[in-house]
């Protein structure tokens, strides 16, 4: 049986500041090495200054994935030399002195399969290395520390996936979940990265590192299974190793570096005292958590009688469910759901279009009212919606400007 396990790295892009200093967590708009300070550059004498919000957001992720949340949290140093690491150690979490990571074992249902979560940990992202130069001889490495110290949540799963399709379904659910929690924007470049381990029946475990997007993760897993199966078919031993994902050639290649043999000399980070998260704080966080996707779906189905499939689409996308919940659902919930899932989806199918859209929930209320009262036809409503998204004008104004106010055919 094929076994696949994942280690997902998710940046908490919605936070104001980095994990241990006041620099911006969203480093992307800065020129190289301008979103830095003495702390995230690891200058002599500086100390980490823990961002409490990161603890809260990461705990919310743990709760949403049904993980246990320990009362005492600790940070550890992972010691290794690398140019993207300003202190030459990374502050991360580990469960060597009992469960001290932000989240313990949990699980999530994907389709009809239960995927177990091993643990969730909070850590700092290293800087970014950019390789330039044509040949390997002339290659230069540039370091940009803007990213160094960005809050990163690592989600480790048990090897519960059996095929790439389950991996994809899981990633979709996870992306929606993180977006719904308002902790991260998974569409940002580099916000989601992953390592995977893959083994087939009779073979050893292979780790694939350096997968830069969820899209590539599915591809990498697929490639790796095919590669291992063809080795197996020819009776070639599948030796345990670490491989890297080459995102240009879309293949995995054996990694010559002996990373897996590094001794990280983990020990407690003395500069950050143990963090006690009392029951009351857990309860408070739980009460502040946005409504889960599944609870939204259930509400849409039972309260408004929205069809299962429509409720599915509506609930899993925060952009749509926010619009829906803010519009006047007391009167025309079904009509509004219908407008969103049939007409609006085509108009705002990219992030840019969503950002540019002038549509507000009140527009949806007005549109649904107009349709229900027979003021405009569904076809006219669709045209009006197009105008609203573009200009943000009131429905009334659009109806008179474009002369859409025909009495509908039904009447």
């Amino acid at each position: 049986m094929t076994k696949i396990g994942l280690e997902i790295h998710c940046q908490l892009t919605k936070l104001e500041s980095k994990l241990f200093c006041p620099c911006k967590a969203n480093y992307r708009e800065y020129a190289p090495n301008t979103n830095i300070c003495p702390i995230c550059m690891g200058l002599p004498g500086t100390l980490p200054r823990l961002n409490q919000k990161a603890i809260e957001k990461a705990t919310m992720i743990a709760m949403a994935l049904n993980c246990s949340t320990p009362e005492k949290i600790a940070f550890f140093r992972k010691n290794y030399f690398y140019p993207d690491l300003p202190k030459n150690f990374q502050i991360t979490q580990l469960n060597i002195y009992g469960d001290t990571s932000i989240g313990g074992s949990g699980m999530i249902i994907v389709g009809d399969k239960k995927i177990r979560i091993t643990r969730i940990q909070l850590e700092e992202d290293p800087g970014r290395l950019i390789y330039e130069g044509s040949s390997s001889k002339n290659q230069i490495t540039l370091v940009d520390y803007n990213r160094a110290g960005t809050p990163l949540v690592e989600i480790v799963t048990e090897p519960d996936f059996e095929n790439p399709k389950q991996v994809r379904e899981f990633l979709n659910i996870l992306s929606d979940l993180l977006e719904n929690l308002d902790v991260s924007d998974p569409s940002l470049e580099g916000a989601m990265r992953a390592d995977a381990n893959v083994s087939i029946e009779g073979g050893n475990k292979i780790e694939i590192k350096n997968i830069g997007s969820f899209h590539d993760l599915e591809k990498a897993v697929h490639f790796e299974i095919t590669r291992q199966e063809s080795l197996h078919a020819r009776d070639i031993l599948i030796a345990q190793e670490t491989r890297h994902w080459d995102d240009k050639r879309k293949i995995t290649i054996s990694s010559r570096s002996k990373e897996e043999e590094l001794d990280y000399r983990y020990f407690l980070e003395g500069d950050i005292p143990w963090i006690i998260i009392e029951k009351e704080i857990h309860e408070k966080l739980k009460s502040e958590m946005p409504e889960s996707i599944s609870s939204k779906k259930e509400r849409y189905v039972t309260k408004y009688g929205i069809p299962d499939q429509v409720a599915d689409v509506l609930s899993s996308d925060k952009f749509y469910s926010d619009l829906f919940d803010k519009s006047d659902t007391e009167k025309n919930a079904k009509e509004i759901a219908n407008i969103i899932t049939t007409d609006l989806m085509g108009l705002v199918d990219t992030k840019e279009k969503r950002q540019q859209s002038k549509l507000e929930s009140s527009h949806l209320t007005d549109l649904a009212d107009a349709i229900q009262s027979g003021k405009i036809t569904r076809t006219s409503a669709k045209n009006a919606l197009y105008e609203i998204v573009k200009s943000g004008k009131k429905l009334e104004q659009i109806i008179s400007e474009f002369d859409l106010g025909h009495v509908s055919d039904e009447n």
């Binding site: 200058l43 002599p44 004498g45 100390l47 030399f81 001794d263 000399r265 500069d271």
Partner: protein, 481 residues
């Protein structure tokens, strides 16, 4: 100009208009010029010190609000960052490192109108107890320049003892404030872990070290604690000391207090002169109505081993950042794969630092951690338990700060294990986080002996009371320089 003023005396004199900060600071700078060639306490002298003192005088004259230091000249151990000034850690690795920010303690002192006359010598990265491991040469003991001044805050203790400043900031990882204070006959204080912010102190073993003042008198130490203590958002390990006034009630005495004499710290290897000074100190404490008796803290015998294992582990990690990529000295980075680059980029560390970093790579490594690092942590927690247990019965513990007298420069430098053992009486306070102070007590054959008092965590204020009582019984000769 009388440069022997204590901090409190200086403040009074300037406040009352008997003395200008400028005159005092100028005379201090002159003094440094005159004698520091012999003593080598300073690595860097602040050229703007006199100018800065002038500004304070102007403030006083114009009737503006003046900070509580009134232009007092202080020296600062060169592992504490002062903005726009060199901070070398007495290492060639940081020979040209200019700190772009102020340590929290420096900001606080600047707010109180202190004047920093210079950065003072230490063992490289604070690793040592003689100041002989400075990459810029040893400091000399003002009581006898052939002798070590102790360390690692040797420059701090020398500069205070030889009147090159009124007081100094040192750092204490295993005795580095108290040991040189004892060897130079000044007061050295290691606060409860977390009482003073470490932000801006270049880490050696961050889980146990503290910045501490080195002063002429116990009251001066209380004066500086009033300025330096308190929560700091930039140091998550700082504790809320509740804005206490450490000077308040310092003269109230110790009648009826119970004091434990730590047996393991006056045992084998102790110098007879140190032992008799300790006995004398005990009888003086009893003279104040305290009740003293000998106690045993069993784990003391493993404390030095535990201390060196833990500090080496943390040092190995804390010093890993000095790779000459972001700051440091010019070093050709081209043509090296990163691991070989790293092995070549760090050659300017001195021998003691290298020794501890190698040890720090080994003791916590997989396969060895159980035998060394984890065992050291176990000793630390057992020792802490024993000490806290002792403090249920005793208000204070007492022992000589160092079991031997200052020794000659070069005498022990080739025997690291013999040097390690000099730490036996001081590491306890660091491993357990309790406050500890060294008070000058006597002079034997021209060499100083200090007595160490300890109290339970957060009892720093009470500790100063006991130290003040002990100090009040002592009249020592002037330093012969």
């Amino acid at each position: 100009m009388n440069l022997k003023l204590s901090a409190l005396e200086f403040v009074n004199e300037v406040k009352n208009g008997n003395l200008s900060a400028e005159d005092f600071v100028s005379a201090t700078i002159e003094r440094i010029k005159k004698i520091d060639g012999t003593l080598h306490a300073f690595l860097n002298v602040n050229k703007k010190a006199v100018e800065q003192a002038q500004l304070v005088d102007k403030k006083i004259k114009s009737g503006k609000k003046v900070g509580s230091c009134f232009g007092m000249p202080l020296s600062v151990k060169d592992n504490i960052c002062i903005k726009h000034s060199k901070t070398t850690c007495a290492s060639k690795m940081l020979e040209n490192f200019i700190a772009p920010y102020d340590a929290t303690v420096i900001s606080k002192l600047k707010e109180q109108d202190a004047v920093f006359v210079g950065k003072v010598n230490l063992d490289e990265f604070a690793m040592g107890l003689t100041t002989e491991f400075s990459a810029y040469g040893p400091s000399k003991n003002p009581w006898n320049p052939d002798y070590v001044p102790g360390g690692s805050s040797g420059g701090s203790a020398v500069s205070v003892s030889a009147f090159e400043c009124v007081a100094s900031l040192g750092s204490d990882t295993g005795g580095s404030v108290r040991n040189p204070a004892s060897f130079c006959s000044v007061v050295g204080f290691k606060p409860t872990y977390g009482l003073i912010s470490r932000y801006g102190l270049i880490s050696y073993a961050n889980s146990i070290e503290q910045i501490g003042p080195i002063t002429r008198t116990v009251k001066d130490t209380a004066f500086f604690l009033n300025i330096l203590s308190g929560l700091d958002p930039n140091d998550n390990t700082t504790i809320n000391s509740g804005n206490q006034d450490f000077l308040d009630g310092i003269e109230l005495g110790i009648e009826g207090k119970k004091i434990g004499i730590i047996q393991e710290m006056i045992g084998e290897g102790i110098d007879p002169a140190v032992l008799s000074a300790t006995n004398e100190a005990v009888s003086k404490l009893e003279g104040f109505g305290a009740k003293c008796e000998t106690i045993s803290i069993d784990m003391v015998k493993y404390s030095v081993a535990s201390y060196y294992t833990i500090t080496a582990t943390e040092a190995g990690s804390n010093l890993a950042r000095y790779d000459n990529l972001r700051y440091g000295y010019d070093f050709p980075v081209e043509g090296f794969e990163f691991n070989s680059y790293i092995s070549k980029a760090r050659t300017k560390f001195g021998p003691e630092v290298i020794r501890r970093m190698i040890l720090g790579g080994f003791v916590p490594s997989s396969g060895h951690a159980g035998k060394y690092f984890l065992k050291a942590l176990k000793v630390k927690s057992k020792l802490t338990k024993e000490v806290l247990e002792a403090f249920k019965k005793y208000d204070y513990l007492v022992a000589p700060t160092v079991p031997i007298l200052p020794f000659k420069i070069g005498e022990k430098i080739d025997d690291p294990v013999a040097l390690f053992l000099v730490d036996i009486n001081t590491v306890l306070a660091n491993l357990t986080g309790v406050p500890s102070i060294s008070v000058p007590f006597s002079i034997s054959n021209g060499l100083p002996i200090g007595i160490q008092l300890l109290a339970k965590p957060n009892d720093d204020k009470s500790l100063l009371k006991a130290a003040y009582s002990l100090e009040s019984t002592v009249k020592l000769p002037d330093v012969p320089i």
